[in-house]
Symmetry: C2
Subunit: 210 residues, 2 copies
């Protein structure tokens, strides 16, 4: 961002871009439509962003900051790493459910920018993945997660499961699964998958509430 | 495909498209480059395919037939559903490793076609996912997989984990994980996640060989 421009307009343009990308798709969306949606002149957009890919990347970074904050707020008060995994799954899927336009942009449109997929150094996404690796490592120190799990693989297993469920939710608008139930099932499968089997602790029955 | 055209050329064009899409990206690739790679005249391509998206979809369908066949060959001789899950993970990741250009097209380029993502009725992918659902259901009938697992969710958890690992492998060309070890870790996490905990059966230690 050009630092001499007011930040409020920067944010307004990105919020407008979410709506336009979700409605028209990344490739069909025009910068002029984003300008109209944001109620700024076409030229104003170029004071803040180089092009459409640049808008997409800034939108992603701004929203990832918000997502990272929400995720930290959800897991930091908890002390049990397995409870943290449960909260991670629940929070990930409820962020999707509560922000359907943003979810459409992140799950589908973002992956259509080869600039984003191949050239962009996606440090915010790594930060997000590493929240998972840290939970795994903490659980290994505390003895509730098996020591032979590789955190670098487990973080991708957990993220991959949640991401696939999110894409499925976004693409299947007509017959959506209840996300709370999906979060419960997914976190119980993954917790049983990584926990060290001390009797009396760990995963609850998947069909139980909570 | 226009049925009056020889099928050999159809196949040759699709194999050329895999190379061109992997090299240039789906959006930058031109139909004329695919023609050159396939050693056919530009116009010949349009005897078989409507446009570039149509080539991408036919390429995906042809390759999915081959992938479905390889997967069935890997799991059908096995009788234990947990062993089938292990073979599924191993086969999925070795198909990626052995076909790096195709993997690049499927993991990255394919998702750049919004025609593919949103308009195409992807029945081959559902067939692939349903191999997983069938293994889960079989394990539930035989008592080795917990009855409270929803096969419709578990199939996406398992596919999502393998898919994320595949995308990571494709994008991180320089520091690739050994896929055999990744397959072992992933399948052990997922098997422990779904199995009913009868003592003496089920997941081996992740660090053991085999």
């Amino acid at each position: 961002m050009n630092r001499s421009q007011p930040p409020e307009k920067h944010h307004r343009i990105l919020q407008a871009a979410i709506k336009v990308f979700a409605r028209k798709g990344f490739y069909n969306a025009r910068v002029s439509e984003i300008a109209r949606e944001a109620q700024v002149a076409d030229g104003t957009i170029y004071l803040y962003f180089k092009n459409k890919d640049d808008i997409l990347i800034h939108l992603f970074e701004e929203e990832m900051d918000r997502i990272l904050q929400a995720m930290r707020r959800a897991i930091e008060p908890l002390s049990d790493p397995l409870e943290k995994l449960r909260a991670f799954a629940r929070t990930h899927l409820s962020l999707v459910e509560e922000n359907p336009l943003l979810a459409e942009v992140i799950q589908v449109e973002l992956r259509q920018s080869s600039k984003f997929m191949k050239d962009y150094d996606n440090h915010k996404f790594l930060e997000y993945l590493n929240l998972l690796a840290e939970i795994i490592e903490e659980g290994q120190r505390m003895g509730s997660i098996r020591p032979d799990i590789h955190p670098a693989i487990a973080k991708r297993v957990i993220f991959g499961a949640l991401d696939e469920m999110s894409t499925y939710w976004v693409l299947s608008k007509k017959r959506r699964l209840p996300m709370k139930e999906a979060a419960r099932q997914i976190s119980e499968i993954l917790i049983r998958g990584v926990e060290s089997g001390h009797p009396g602790r760990g995963a609850r029955s998947i069909s139980s509430s909570g």
